[in-house]
């Protein structure tokens, strides 16, 4: 207890940059606080009432020039900080193309993580040094916030909407994972750890497949493909026939024209919304015939479906490192659309 740590570990590419601005701000705060406090102390002592010897002639008059200086100087300083902060923010907001996708579901009071390769973890996330990771996150209930102090990143995890976060670990170790947004009784228990491993160790870990949340036994995209069949999606969304429903191959990342005349980019959020409430944004030329899947598919399964649809490729393939191997497999799975009805009957019970 008797040591005084001042900084969390610096374990991501952001940490140094954020700390740099932080130190600048600390120095600035110290400078102004000390300067003004000294000025106040100096004047409080020098011009104390009992000091009758001090010269009080010509006190500072009202002075627009001085006002201009102390309006102008702070304005310049804050603008410098503003741009510096925005610069870091842009880096944090924009995941690089080579980032690995991972999927996070928050619920009261645990974190569930799915790796595209099928590993599932609870309150723990294994990542490799030097490998950028992009998290797609959603909450099943209230708002949570995914916070790793050692990475200097934080992002609220919302119900009903995907949010994303990325980081690139730089230092092996085990770091705190906190929920930073108050989420109910066990809010302070919604913690976990981020295990950063050397690449080789990470590969071994992946190959071992053992993790505390179990494993899908297949890639997420494959699992998604199974759901795609089981829920009967494939009866309309065919690989080569767009007569009843749009072809999903190559959809991800494309801009889609809607019935109302607008266009949207088919990102994860759009795919998710289209599955749950298909009627909200209907592709131009189609009618509102798709059933509503809300309450019939869990968030985890939705992420697998999204992962599957992403694996079908798209125009701007920022294809994650792990998915290419999964893509062909799922495509072959997708074609035999035979034994569907039977599965369809069984599935709903599984989903409850």
């Amino acid at each position: 207890m008797w040591n005084f740590p001042l900084l969390p570990d610096q374990a991501s590419t952001f940490a140094g940059r954020v700390d740099g601005l932080y130190f600048f701000l600390v120095a600035l705060t110290a400078f102004f606080t000390v300067m003004i406090s000294l000025m106040v102390a100096f004047m409080a002592i020098r011009y104390r009432e009992s000091n009758t010897k001090v010269n009080r002639d010509n006190p500072l008059p009202e002075n627009p020039t001085m006002e201009a200086v102390w309006i102008g100087v702070p304005l310049v300083i804050v603008l410098v900080i503003f741009f510096w902060g925005v610069n870091i923010y842009f880096a944090i907001a924009r995941p690089p193309a080579n980032a690995v996708d991972m999927y996070v579901t928050g619920k009261q009071w645990m974190w569930k993580i799915q790796h595209p390769t099928g590993q599932r973890e609870i309150n723990e996330i294994h990542v490799a040094v030097g490998q950028p990771v992009r998290l797609t996150m959603i909450s099943q209930d209230v708002i949570h916030s995914f916070y790793v102090p050692a990475f200097r990143v934080k992002q609220d995890v919302l119900p009903g909407r995907y949010s994303q976060l990325w980081f690139e670990p730089t230092k092996p170790g085990i770091y705190h994972l906190f929920c930073a947004e108050f989420c109910g009784t066990k809010h302070s228990g919604m913690i976990g750890r981020v295990v950063v491993m050397e690449s080789a160790d990470y590969e071994r870990w992946l190959a071992g497949g053992s993790s505390n949340g179990g494993s899908l036994g297949q890639t997420m995209a494959d699992a998604g493909a199974q759901i795609f069949e089981a829920q009967g999606c494939i009866t309309c969304h065919k690989m080569d026939d767009a007569s009843r429903a749009p072809i999903l191959k190559g959809l991800y990342g494309k801009s889609v024209a809607l019935n109302g005349g607008e266009t949207v980019i088919a990102d994860e959020q759009y795919i998710r919304e289209s599955i749950l409430r298909s009627g909200a944004k209907i592709v131009a030329g189609y009618g509102p015939i798709m059933p509503v899947y809300q309450n019939r598919i869990s968030e985890d399964e939705l992420m697998q479906l999204v992962s599957y649809i992403k694996s079908l490729g798209g125009p701007a393939t920022g294809t994650p490192a792990a998915t290419p191997s999964a893509a062909p497999a799922s495509e072959t799975k997708g074609t035999p659309a035979a034994a569907k009805p039977a599965q369809n009957v069984n599935e709903p019970s599984r989903n409850k």
Binding site: R277, G279, A280, P288, V292
Partner: protein
């Protein structure tokens, strides 16, 4: 203490009737600005969701009966007219007309609330009240509205808060009625009628916004 002509109608804190009247008017306008901000929050929510769920809003809006809404709009506009005439009567010191116009305003206000109650009852019957029993059927050609529940949540929130303001307004009218029957108001002292009138007109204007926002979107 200044010995200015403090008649019983000028409160002790004011120098004269003019100052009192100006203060009351500025006060009422300030209050109406807070009211604008109050409804502003709801209208903000409305704008965001309407933008997000345009189709649902269009389809859901068609379920509302335009003509009932229109009738109610007319009722309110007429009540504003009688209110304005009431203020005029107060300014002229015409007590009889004042009483008459206040009663007329109250009747129209009550009629509005009655029609509103009828509309609410109808929504209950058709399962259009958000909650577990909510079920949206739509009108022919516009059955499809996955986010209709949000529209009806806003419908009840907005019209409900508005109706609450109408009820407060009726309370104010009752108070005015009592005072004007007693003969409190005169050519020199009619300010309460004027500022209650301001409030009444404001509540009307809110409805003038709510009616098109809720009833008239996408009617062709």
């Amino acid at each position: 203490m200044s010995d200015a002509a403090h008649n019983s109608l000028v409160a002790h804190q004011f120098d004269d009737a003019r100052q009192q009247q100006e203060a009351a008017t500025v006060g009422m306008w300030t209050f109406l600005i807070t009211e604008i901000m109050f409804f502003g929050g709801l209208i903000l929510a409305y704008m965001i969701y309407r933008n997000q769920f345009a189709e649902s809003f269009h389809a859901a809006s068609r379920v509302l009966d335009v003509w009932v809404g229109c009738f109610n709009t007319c009722v309110l506009l007429v009540s504003s007219l009688t209110m304005a005439l009431g203020v005029r009567a107060a300014q002229m010191g015409d007590r009889k007309k004042l009483v008459l116009f206040i009663i007329a305003t109250m009747i129209f206000g009550a009629a509005f609330l009655g029609v509103k109650a009828y509309e609410y009852a109808e929504k209950f019957e058709h399962h259009l009240v958000p909650g577990p029993t909510f079920h949206f059927h739509g009108v022919p050609g516009h059955e499809h509205a996955p986010n209709a529940e949000i529209f009806f949540s806003l419908y009840f929130a907005m019209t409900g808060v508005h109706a609450l303001h109408m009820i407060v307004g009726l309370g104010l009218m009752t108070w005015l009625l009592r005072k004007s029957i007693k003969g409190t108001f005169s050519k020199d002292y009619y300010n309460p009628v004027e500022i209650c009138g301001l409030y009444w007109h404001f509540v009307d204007i809110v409805w003038i916004f709510l009616y098109p926002l809720l009833y008239l979107i996408d009617r062709s």
